[in-house]
């Protein structure tokens, strides 16, 4: 079997004294350094002169587009562009970043793209492997690094996918620390985290810097997170150079500096980003005002003058509808149960609660995008009435056409890009208004002139007039956020729902968003938001509805195993006898059996393999019933294959039926049956073997034993980890499309178009994730040269029976076919 003793045994025994690990921080020098991307006319960074001494902690600020990320990426040696123009020098301890691999570690914003492998021990080991650290030292480094970031409580086999965002960032830090770097580069490391995760990550970084003596450079919008612990504040100038360099504590004391930083859209400690907005008092015209209540849990105390719009009674919500469970053995339990809610006109309600409590699921359900798990959501006449013909609408928003939904409930998703479906900003803004229909009819709600007027008003209001013809995906983060709200406002919905709208936004975008939402409220609109942001709730004077997840057993692995891909992409290894064998040995066995089947088209050899497969199930720990559930579609496919051959093969023997354009003969039927049986037999061994093989083990085997190129094998392995995320993106994009009024409906052609454009949206997200993951991998030394392997992959005596077994089944199939006279070699 594989030698898996590595992590378990050597992981615990050695803990190097901290002192010996304290290296020297890296000195960073820039001399007239400029960088121009191939596509751009203006340099991202120009004429930068910079000295950072070893161990210095630098908070890097600057307006957006000043080249902060470009600089960090260049220092991490992940900036490549064959056609870029580079001038001057950028050095780490006197050498170019390309030659200082492993000296600098980079942490990016998105926790999902900071994880490379599916088990946390392997993920931390990855960087050390890339730097060719000897195997016996790798696991020592791994446990030390996990301890340093406070993740020592998890087993090395813990699935990285089950960590929270903050834990993933700390895992990323551990991966960086396993390289023993002298420079920590942090590119908005806490922007995507909830408050709890944020402070844990910050403290872990500070502790690591303290322990290792590493130089630190942090880019972050929220200066208060870092300022008091940093030595230096460095402000970059747009278009090149350094605008200012001062002690980091000046952020608290220097009024001029504070105003300057605030003007750049940064969060300055103690400075209210809303101070430049006109004063606002909740409950201005049209809204019932201060005494409207959430009406949560009963809603009996709601203000009498505000009309209810949406009611939820005994509502239970969950991602997976019990009705859509055709693939599932048992319906997944709901995330939240027994909710009673009343949403009133003019109300501002903030839904808060712990991660994973089901806040977003609740919002999607209220927005008519997910079916209620139990109980129901109903819209009152006050909501359905808008636009005329409302009496023709059902009470349940989930049953509405998306064209009816857009004009009543607008949903702003956490990731603006999920909502984009058109190729220019103008078309995006027009879409909602164009799609809106008078209920029960195909008549547009707005005339062409009205649509045009709405679009130009929105373009002006959002400050996007200059960008009207730009591709929405090319906008900056703040512009995308504004556009995503604008696309929803376009159809004039009464209720606006937002999922974490302020996540990762700078202070300027925050203020712009608040201003838009206040206008919506002032015009009589209603706002519902899922948020962690107390500042957001205060700014809108929102009522808070804190929710708690329904009691249920700890995240059950059964749920995961039924996701597409099944147990293959989980982190759990099959404990069966076959599951413990070497992956390559199993692959060879399947190959031998497949080769025997491919050589001949006859029912006898196929029958032998089918029988052998069922006989081997106990070794793989697979129950026959489960196996049958998994393979029945293949049996059905085999029947189709048999039929195809029966009618299209050359006529031989007695003609059984003449269909006019072709005939069915005894010979073609026999051939069809043989092909069908073979098609079925070919599947079974690979289903058995692959459902007991862990992808990481397979990749280790392919790269170490079969000597396939390691860069490609590991690239494919890392990509597999993204599958679950891609599935989530697909679902969310589907919801977002319905919310935009372009959900999959209509005829076959319309559905195909809709699916194609949804697939394009997924493709965009896939490539975005891939390029970020590539940066993560490269910044951990991947692809630079020879690497070591933390998990040795080699054959053991116990693997011999696997290969011999495969050979025996193949030989048995061939000889049975020959002896029975059924043998029918294909290449004749």
């Amino acid at each position: 079997m594989d030698d898996r003793s590595g992590p378990e045994e050597s992981g615990a025994d050695l803990d190097e004294p901290r002192l010996t690990r304290r290296g020297r921080g890296v000195a960073v020098t820039a001399q007239g350094w400029s960088w121009t991307h191939a596509e751009r006319e203006r340099p991202a960074v120009q004429g930068l002169d910079l000295q950072i001494i070893p161990g210095e902690k630098v908070l890097l600020a600057g307006p957006s587009g000043a080249g902060k990320s470009t600089l960090l990426h260049a220092l991490a040696a992940v900036l490549h562009d064959d056609e870029a123009e580079v001038h001057g020098q950028l050095l780490l301890d006197g050498v170019a970043p390309d030659h200082a691999r492993g000296r600098a570690g980079l942490m990016q914003q998105d926790p999902e793209s900071q994880v490379v492998l599916s088990r946390i021990g392997d993920d931390v080991a990855f960087a050390a492997e890339n730097l060719s650290v000897p195997r016996e030292q790798i696991w020592t480094r791994v446990s030390a690094a996990l301890t340093d970031v406070g993740l020592e409580g998890f087993s090395l086999d813990h699935p990285s996918a089950q960590l929270s965002g903050g834990q993933k960032q700390r895992l990323a830090l551990a991966g960086i620390l396993a390289m023993r770097p002298g420079l920590l580069l942090l590119d908005e490391p806490t922007a995507n985290l909830d408050p709890e995760g944020l402070w844990q990550v910050r403290d872990a970084v500070l502790a690591a810097a303290e322990a290792t003596g590493a130089t630190v450079i942090v880019v972050e919008h929220r200066l208060e997170v870092w300022a008091e612990h940093m030595d230096t504040l460095l402000v970059l100038e747009t278009g090149g150079g350094i605008r200012r360099r001062s002690p980091a504590t000046d952020v608290f004391t220097d009024a001029g500096l504070r105003a300057e930083l605030g003007g750049m859209g940064l969060w300055v400690p103690g400075r209210d980003p809303l101070q430049e907005l006109p004063p606002w008092r909740p409950g201005s015209p049209g809204s019932p005002g201060d005494d409207a209540t959430a009406g949560a849990e009963g809603g009996s105390d709601a203000a009498p003058q505000a009309e209810p719009l949406l009611l939820a009674e005994g509502l239970a919500v969950g991602r997976h509808s019990p009705k859509a469970g055709w693939r599932r053995a048992a319906p997944a339990p709901p995330t939240l149960t027994d909710l009673h809610l009343m949403i009133r006109r003019g109300q501002t309600l903030g839904i808060t609660g712990a991660n994973g409590a089901g806040k977003s699921t609740l919002l999607l359900t209220l927005a008519g995008l997910l079916p209620a798990h139990a109980g129901g959501v109903s819209a009152t006449a006050a909501l359905t009435g808008g636009g005329g013909g409302g009496e023709r609408l059902s009470r349940d928003p989930h049953e509405w056409r998306s064209a009816d939904l857009v004009a009543r409930i607008g949903m702003v998703f956490q990731e603006p890009e999920h909502q984009f479906v058109r190729s220019t900003v103008r078309e995006e803004l027009a879409l909602g208004a164009e799609q809106a229909r008078i209920p029960g009819s195909a008549d547009p709600l707005f005339s062409e002139q009205q649509v045009e007027a709405r679009v130009s008003r929105l373009l002006d209001r959002l400050g996007l007039a200059e960008l009207a013809e730009a591709n929405p995906f090319t906008l900056s983060g703040g512009e995308k956020r504004r556009l995503s709200v604008g696309t929803v406002l376009s159809a004039g919905p009464e209720v606006l729902m937002l999922d974490e709208p302020t996540f990762g936004q700078d202070a300027r975008t925050f203020a712009e968003l608040i201003s838009l939402l206040r206008e919506h409220l002032d015009s009589g609109g209603t706002v519902l938001a899922v948020t962690h942001d107390a500042g957001f709730l205060r700014a809108l004077d929102a009522q808070e509805l804190q929710i708690q997840a329904a009691e249920r057993p700890a995240p059950d692995t059964a749920d995961e195993s039924q996701a597409p891909g099944g147990p293959l992409f989980g982190a759990a290894r099959s404990p069966s006898w076959l599951g413990r064998r070497n992956a390559l040995a199993k692959l060879i066995a399947v190959f031998l059996i497949t080769a025997a089947l491919v050589m001949t088209i006859d029912a006898v050899s196929s029958g032998v393999v089918i029988l052998a497969s069922f006989a081997l199930l106990p070794l793989a720990g697979i129950r026959p019933a489960g196996f049958l559930r998994r393979i029945w579609p293949f049996a059905a496919g085999a029947v189709v294959a048999a039929w195809g051959t029966a009618i299209a093969a050359e006529e031989s023997g007695r003609v059984v039926a003449d269909l006019g354009f072709t005939t069915i003969s005894e010979g073609s039927i026999a051939l069809g049956l043989a092909l069908g049986a073979r098609a079925f037999a070919i599947v079974l061994p690979s289903v058995i073997v692959f459902s007991t093989t862990d992808p990481t083990d397979l990749a280790d085997s392919l790269a170490q034993q079969l000597r396939l190129p390691a860069r490609f094998v590991l690239g494919a392995l890392a990509a597999m980890r993204l599958l679950g995320l891609l599935a989530e993106h697909w679902t969310t994009i589907g919801h977002a499309r319905r919310a935009r009024g372009v959900g999959a409906h209509g005829g076959f052609a319309a559905r195909m178009r809709s699916t194609a454009s949804q697939a394009f949206g997924l493709l965009v997200q896939a490539i975005r994730m891939a390029t970020r993951l590539a940066v993560t991998m490269e910044s951990r030394g991947f692809g630079a040269g020879p690497r070591s392997w933390a998990r040795p992959s080699r054959f053991s005596p116990a693997d011999l029976p696997v290969i011999l077994g495969g050979a025996a089944i193949g030989a048995l199939a061939v000889s049975a076919a020959i002896l029975s006279g059924a043998w029918n070699l294909v290449w004749t």
């Binding site: 064959d82 891909g565 579609p633 009618i647 092909l675 891939a770 590539a774």
Partner: protein
């Protein structure tokens, strides 16, 4: 071709032929190609399941079932168009095939041979133009070639069919046609869309949306 397009294509000629571009795969190339391929593998898996039903649409005359088999070819051309480096077509097609096998495919391990052969067809077209032409006609040609080599695999390398000669020709020709449309035209549009959304920044295809649609006629420009 309009005079503007001609000017663009003439201007582009110099950069496109510049020797600066390396044919070695960068880490971004590898990871993007891998993600495309793995995602395609999952699409294969879903398509494989639906094919149990869709395949039945052709029971009246099974040899034309290959009219939808282009769905199994798109990763090859998409990978080549996005990555633009040698081996992209074969790598993406094979990884997609391998992932679909991992998830459970009705063709078991034989998908590795068909994946290799299908990728090879597309690869040969781009090799023939030294990985310098990625316009519509070459994308469609690559899709068709992928169908052609795929059809050859179906009938002679790892035979899955035993058709009469006329049916065999129809079977393969439909495969090539399907490849040109589903695996040539669509990936070409997708690549241009991705370039326009500027998500291909680190890749050689980042300017795909500004290139002329067709290469033919460039020499006159």
């Amino acid at each position: 071709m309009s005079s503007r397009e001609r000017a663009v294509s003439a201007g582009r000629g110099t950069t496109e032929h510049s020797p600066a571009r390396s044919w070695r795969w960068s880490v971004s190339d590898i990871v993007v190609a891998s993600v495309l391929a793995v995602a395609s593998g999952v699409i294969f898996w879903g398509w494989n399941l639906s094919y149990h039903l869709i395949g039945n649409l052709f029971v009246f005359y099974p040899p034309v079932e290959t009219l939808v088999h282009g769905m199994w070819l798109f990763p090859a051309v998409l990978g080549a168009l996005v990555i633009r480096k040698p081996g992209a077509a074969i790598y993406c097609e094979m990884v997609a095939a391998a992932v679909s096998a991992l998830l459970g495919s009705q063709w078991g391990l034989t998908v590795l041979s068909s994946g290799f052969m299908q990728g090879l067809g597309a690869e040969l077209i781009f090799l023939a133009v030294a990985y310098r032409r990625f316009s519509l006609e070459f994308a469609m040609l690559a899709g068709a070639a992928s169908g052609l080599t795929g059809g050859i695999t179906y009938h002679w390398i790892v035979p899955m069919y035993a058709y009469a000669p006329a049916e065999t020709i129809i079977h393969i020709a439909s495969f090539a046609l399907s490849g040109a449309i589903i695996a040539g035209l669509l990936p070409w549009f997708a690549t241009r869309g991705l370039a326009a959304a500027s998500v291909l920044g680190p890749l050689a295809s980042r300017r795909a949306h500004r290139e002329p649609r067709l290469s033919l006629g460039r020499s006159r420009g």
